[in-house]
Amino acid sequence: MNDNQQIVHTVKEQLRPPIERIPVFRWLKENLFSSWLNVILTVVSTALIVTVVFGLLKWALGARWEVIPANLKLLLVGTYPVEYLWRVWTTGYMIAFLLGFSGGSHGGLMRRVSTTAALISIVLAVLPFPWGTRGWLVGIAVAAAVGFGLGYLGKGIRWCKRLEIAAWILSFPISLVLLNGVGGILPVIGRRTTWGFLLNLIGAVVGIGLSFPIGVLLALGRRSELPAVRWVCTAYIEIIRGVPLISLLFMASIMLQLLLPANIRPDLLIRAMMTVTAFSAAYMAENVRGGLQAIPRGQYEAASAVGLNKALITILIILPQALRLVIPAIVGQFISLFMDTTLFGFIAILELLNITRSIMGNIEWRGTIFELYVFIGIVFWILCYSMSYISRRMEKTLGVGER
């Protein structure tokens, strides 16, 4: 007892952790040349890397990159009528404006995304495109900036927030109407033309926008207490997941052609989008279900104990936690849905990949296969990487309250 009381506590000054500085030479020795086997492996792989990089560089310098600018319009928007291209740009402006608005009013991730989009359009505007195109591109940055300013002013105002959400939701149908047109007001484009990369984009956005809510509902349905709902959802998920997308697409394109009379049959484009949506929703449902299963029972109990009903428990307590857990899986699903839109080519819908092939068939551009595929790869990579970057940032910002 007495001993204890005599102990004097002196709090030592807080020290910085030691910084480990490994000399380059030692690092090389430890990691690359630690044994004879490693020496051989290092030398061989260095030689390989050098050869490949040199080969690539040599090819890239001699490649006929002019095939890209010469066919840029064709690649991006297919044979969309030139006189209606303003509709595509207007859609872009609307999205840029909304992005800017959200960036201005929220900060954080949204701000980063909107500024990046504006910066990219400015950088593109500096490139030697035709002057008209450059003007439109600058317009994108301007729209984003205006949106940003307004969003910044409206920050924290309740009705501004509601307006923002409503605008985002409305932007979906508005974009579709703008791009495709409606009878009587805007000339309908439909399948009069090919759409190029625009089709992949629309397919992905529609697919993501619809398959996400449907997937969540399916996942909830699969855990429902009502047996009928549970069985239907389970059957749907399991059947769809057992069939390759490409065969579903063929069914949608050919079998429906035979089964349904032409006047009530939806257009091939719509059928294709419905098919990827239906396909993706089944996978989405399983991802979400994984998240739902990870929520401990205590959360349901605590929420019931304070008097929340089942719907509110699901919306307020369970889904936010479950979805946050499966963000990586969900974004992975988005990405693969985006890639899957290239399968549209197989059912005679001319998307990016298909158009590429038709360009290669042109005598003038014979032998530009690598250039075109590298271009496609880069375009897809940029968008998919952005998605996965956003997903990682979201996980971080949303992860504050993680146990």
């Binding site: 205590g298 109990e301 605590a302 929420a303 304070v306 309250g401 146990r403």
Partner: protein, 250 residues
């Protein structure tokens, strides 16, 4: 106050509960008066949790009658809703909502269930956080709090519905020793304010000081109920004596 006040705010009549074939509650009968504090103790697996969880229907009983504040618990969802609004519960594992800030954890139910204005609900939440002694933590997430603080948030969350009855299922069992006191202090204050409380706990000091009655459970049955004085000094049953010797004598 209410019509049934002389009969009791909680009435159990021969309540049975099975988990599959396992007979977890084997005919529980007791009555509790408004403002009473009852401590339930008993060995692990004896059915203490099951019993108090039947009060707000987290578990369903299969036979007998449970009447809470004049409303009988049946499959009628409206009855269950009414009772859940009047009965607050605090869990061993806190069960706070990890994705919501402390303030939102507390203000959630008044806003969504009682349909209060958001500002009003948050005002109440702040008052309750002051009452449990952690107003400065309002903007943090549960994971950023110590166990004792989390449990006090959980108490505030339950109180936000202004319940008539509070249930505590081993509220201090998951806490480090130095945090047990801060939670027990809040509970003592609550008991002094006249709250009707059922507390499952092994904290015999708390039972001695605060409880009006102690109830002893074993094998799904209510073996003995008595005042703390009698319970500790003059236990009636052999099982009770054995249990007391085990928890008090080491």
């Amino acid at each position: 106050m209410s019509v049934t006040s002389n009969e009791g705010i909680i009435i159990y009549r021969d309540v049975h509960k099975w988990y599959g074939d396992f007979h977890a509650l084997r005919g529980i009968t007791f009555t509790m008066q408004k403002g009473e504090v009852i401590v339930i103790c008993g060995p692990s697996g004896s059915g203490k949790s099951t019993c108090i969880r039947t009060i707000n229907r987290l578990e369903e009983h299969q036979r007998g009658q449970i009447i809470v504040d004049g409303v009988e618990l049946t499959n009628d969802l409206r009855n269950i809703d009414t009772i859940r609004r009047e009965v607050g519960m605090v869990f061993q594992q806190f069960n706070l909502f990890p994705h919501l800030r402390v303030l939102q954890n507390v203000a959630l139910a008044p806003f969504w269930v009682l349909k209060m204005k958001k500002s009003k609900a948050e005002e109440i939440a702040i008052q309750l956080l002051e009452r449990v002694g952690i107003p400065e933590q309002a903007q943090k997430y549960p994971a950023q709090l110590s166990g004792g603080q989390q449990q006090r948030v959980a108490i505030a969350r339950a109180l936000a519905m202004t319940p008539k009855i509070m249930l505590f299922d081993e509220p201090t069992s998951a806490l480090d020793p130095e945090m047990i006191k801060e939670v027990l202090d809040v509970m003592k204050e609550l008991a002094r304010s006249g709250m009707t409380m059922i507390v499952v706990t092994h904290e015999m000091g708390f039972a001695r000081e605060v409880a009006n009655r102690i109830v002893f459970f074993d094998f799904g049955q209510l073996i003995e109920e008595n005042t703390p004085e009698e319970f500790f000094h003059n236990p009636q049953h052999e099982r009770t004596k054995l249990f007391l010797s085990q928890i008090l004598d080491y």
